[in-house]
Amino acid sequence: MALSRFEINRRTVLLTSAAIAANVLNPMRAFAQETPRKGGVFNVHYGAEQRQLNPSLQASTGVYIIGGKIQEPLVDLDAAGNPVGVLAESWESTPDGKTITFKLRKGVVWHDGKPFTSEDVAFTALNMWKKILNYGSTLQLFLTAVDTPDPQTAIFRYERPMPLNLLLRALPDLGYISPKHIYETGDIRQNPVNLAPIGTGPFKFNKYERGQYIIADRNDNYWRPNAPYLDRIVWRVITDRAAAAAQLEAGSLHLSPFSGLTISDMARLGKDKRFIVSTKGNEGNARTNTIEFNFRRKELSDIRVRRAIAHAINVPFFIENFLGDFAKLGTGPIPSTSTDFYPGPNTPQYAYDKKKAIALLDEAGLKPAAGGNRLSLRLLPAPWGEDISLWATFIQQSLGEVGIQVEVVRNDGGGFLKQVYDEHAFDLATGWHQYRNDPAVSTTVWYRSGQPKGAPWTNQWGWEDATIDKIIDDAATEVDPVKRKALYADFVTRANTELPIWMPIEQLFVTVISAKARNHSNTPRWASSTWHDLWLAE
């Protein structure tokens, strides 16, 4: 069992996170005796078509679920959540953190037969990660050059120290390599290969019928011996969630990743022996539900009002009755699945306490007017998921009970981002904060001041805090992992004290998969990974 290799602290954390998974019998244990079967077609639910499939140009689950089988990153995470080499074999950093050297795998070839070399790495890093890739452009902001002394060595040079452990946490998502010989001429964004990717992965792109399906076939020249097992993967475009559930039951789908079904269908299929419904294999894709406060509203800039709002909402009740086994109580911006940075639950928390909420509101001078109304607020929920919509209604009703009248204003995706992060036309907003394995990649931008207006998922609250800015800046360039972890604990404490955003619910994506699948959900970002060892039993 892979679990026995963990150190004790990591083990406890992972076991707790496994406890939220519903109906899981560990697939590895149950089928350890079976010999893998070669062949078979694996059908995957694909909910929202993207504008491209190349993961070195767009970091999102909708791209990884396809591009992540065709192209490969330098490193990925292993079962224990530690970085493991894919296209890179080893890495080392100089003590000052300004030079990081990757030794690359030998004998890897692109799907078109050309050899994979350090030239590809240098080209991708400088022209894609640094210039185009979302999150990548922030991560690689201080990357100045990538030297390629020989085809198997890529030396990353940074202007400011880059903590090796930050880079290794980020690269599984932001470290996919594209072929230089395909992209070096013409506009990268308009390259037709973006929708017909060429990579080094276990599956070769075959066909994309827009609105219908995408097919990738087995790569016979894959560098891992005896891999992959599957002959073909078909991603079927199904936009209607209920229809996708029906297709799973009809047997025309094997997998619906990333919480692609309705909450009620996931709960229902979880009781069905033909399926496994679990959060396992999604530990690397944790997200928290937020309440974002607009400090331009005078009342909300008062910390007592923000705390009162937090105290007025019964989060455990909401989780138990609306989200069920797929969510748990959150404790701040760094989720408990983040083994390297989770500071524990002992940062400032806001338990449900209606009396305290009312007292705080009174103290802040918000007395009830005739009819009991103290304050009227506009709440903008993001349209990403059913849970956000339920959560918004729950906030509305909970706050109503302490005399805060909430108007819920619903928008589609583009509208939500524009109104909240550009026009600041909200009092409260709620959506997901998606954690990407290192706070510097995904999280600190929600708190650091000086974010340009209009940048989605950043500090647009009209809130500025010199203390937290300093912690964030120090942590971003701190090369000592122990000191970095301590800085992020300070960060969480400060964030939870000042409460510009409240993150009281923690969720992992839910995978619904056929019980015939083997070797699935075995890494923290399994749905995004290469699936080189996935196979289908008869």
């Binding site: 504008r51 452009s137 219908q212 936009t239 297709q247 009809a250 025309s252 928008n411 989605p456």
Partner: protein, 325 residues
Amino acid sequence: MRILSLAGRRLAASIPTLLLILIGIFLLLQFAPGDTVDAMMAQMGGGDAATARELRKFYGLDLSIPLQLGNYLWRLVRFDLGFSSIYGKPVATVILERLPPTLLLMTASLSFAFFAGLVLGVIAARGVNKWPDTLISTLGLIFYATPSFWFGLMAIVVFSVYLQWLPAGGFEDIGAAATGLARTLDIASHLVLPTLTLGLIFLAIYLRIMRASMLEVLNLDFVRTARAKGLDETRIVVRHVLRNALLPMVTLIGLQAGTMLGGSVVVESVFSLPGLGRLAYESVVQRDLNTLLGIVFVSALLVIAVNFLVDLLYARLDPRITAGT
């Protein structure tokens, strides 16, 4: 020749309407908060300001709105529908790819609704206020009142999940690269459930109209004359009543061709069909202006064409109406 000139005049008369619709939609979408880059950011799940700025430039969104509109109209004059930002292809290509499933679905369900409605309407009218009439009218009411997505899902649950007779979704089988007759049959089997789902609602309307218009015509003098001549009932219905009762039905086809294009969004989503309805929905959510305007343009052309055919049919059914006037 007469028909051609009529067609030409029809088309010319609809050009101003078409232009107004296009400009209207363009402006309407400007009022919707967010642009295609915001929508793309939403889909990516994150990005930074520099990325957004680059993308806006890439999609030509850094220009002023009148300039964008002007560019669009100028391209339209040259029969260029522009470039789709979500598909990275010319809009004309994208729409052409999506047109066949929609046309197939629309034709199939319109024909189904029309003929089933006709037959049921006649049966109901023949047995007016007796049990066949009551049964058919009640069924019609149920079909009309039930939302189509529910019908679709229930049809999938019954025929695909439990009985496993028909595929649960998609336009054709992916694995088998069938050709010729096999492919036609394959596509047909995929379209049975969507056609029924989309057709049932319209069926209800057709059967009500048919029933009412049959009842009306049955009471006219010439029917009494026919009866007096001693013709048998079947002959009266088929030769004398039906043709006269058909006019309102034909009118309805013209009116509903447009509605069907819209109604197919739901059915296309439930059955994962790659049609125009879903494309339109997607381009609204993704704020892909060019594609949306292109779809409006093509749909308007389709509706104009259907209505033109309906006019020709009128003349055929009722010689008093001639193509010239």
